[in-house]
């Protein structure tokens, strides 16, 4: 059976190259070469480049969500506090923290959706699935916080998060998450039952 080590190096290398230079711009030769692996080894582990892209996005989904959850737990303790702290974590990500040692270049799944714009494309679908999981986590937090309309609050916070990430990358506004945080404070405060 093929070794897990070679497969892991391929996925990790592909992920880093895709994130920096894009999916179409990075060829399989370069991935195999920079992973220190023969090209045929790549095709023993993955049927096609698309398969490798999907594996890389799966890994990104796992690693990023794990990092985000840990950072969120460290930043706040109460559910309502975490709903606001989401934007402190995004702020830290924009400014260099985050999984891996690469500079911030926006959301990897937004990039994937940008290059594979057809919603029926499996790659686009993988990006949508990642966003759906993250939305569910926000809904759960909003419910635990006792928000009056947890799903609407979660969707609004998701929009704010997505917008901050995009503004930071495209427009170069490194403090976008701080602007979004101010909005989130008002939303969360207004959604909680008055005490």
């Amino acid at each position: 059976m093929p070794s897990t080590a070679a497969r892991d190096r391929l996925v990790q290398t592909a992920l880093e190259l895709f994130y920096v230079d894009g999916f179409h711009a990075v060829g399989v030769d370069r991935i195999a070469s920079e992973a220190g692996v023969g090209k045929m080894t790549l095709y023993r582990h993955f049927r096609s480049k698309e398969d490798l892209i999907l594996a890389a996005l799966r890994r990104r989904d796992e690693v990023f969500r794990a990092w985000f959850t840990r950072a969120l737990d460290a930043a706040a303790t109460t559910p309502s506090g975490k709903l606001v702290a989401v934007f402190d974590v995004v702020d830290a990500w924009i400014k260099g923290a985050g999984p891996g040692n690469q500079r911030f270049r926006g959301c990897a799944f937004v990039k994937a959706s940008a290059e594979y714009g057809d919603p029926d494309d499996p790659i686009h679908a993988a990006a949508a699935a990642h966003k759906a999981i993250q939305l569910r986590q926000l809904i759960q937090l909003a419910r635990e916080a006792g928000a009056t309309a947890p799903e609407q609050l979660a969707r609004q916070l998701a929009i704010l998060r997505e917008g901050a990430i995009a503004e930071a990358h495209v427009a170069g506004n490194v403090d976008a998450a701080l602007d979004a945080r101010r909005v989130a404070e008002g939303l969360v405060g207004a959604a909680l039952p008055h005490q």
Copy 2:
């Protein structure tokens, strides 16, 4: 001198193909072919593919901003009303309105930044410039509305708009702009001097 007609067809065709299939995925042969133009004509008007991409983004910037401004003027009359109506226009865009007859596939400039992630890349810079102009228009509206902190309000609305566009495209939430609109109502209302 080269004709304006051929150049315009090239830019328009390139814009449509890039928007749907991406910048790297669309080759110059296909652009020239679908524009009904010889390949050499393309290179008589543009030094390189990058030049054509930049020309297409310039056109997108002009056409899209003109469409957006007109739609905004038709949707509301007062400055504060327009700040909220921004999200009605985005909602209409997501649902099929907008310049051109193509289905909504997210923001063309976000797509460009996704494929050309280096902020120093001229293509990325063109996208950033587009976002800067749109932000300035929001700041102007916020000033006219008499907002207490017009620049911060404009940045927050820009984040909301960007987030709604991204959520609609990536996650497939076609009503994202309506969620964002609710948030914008609160922000604009709170930023105006009480009367």
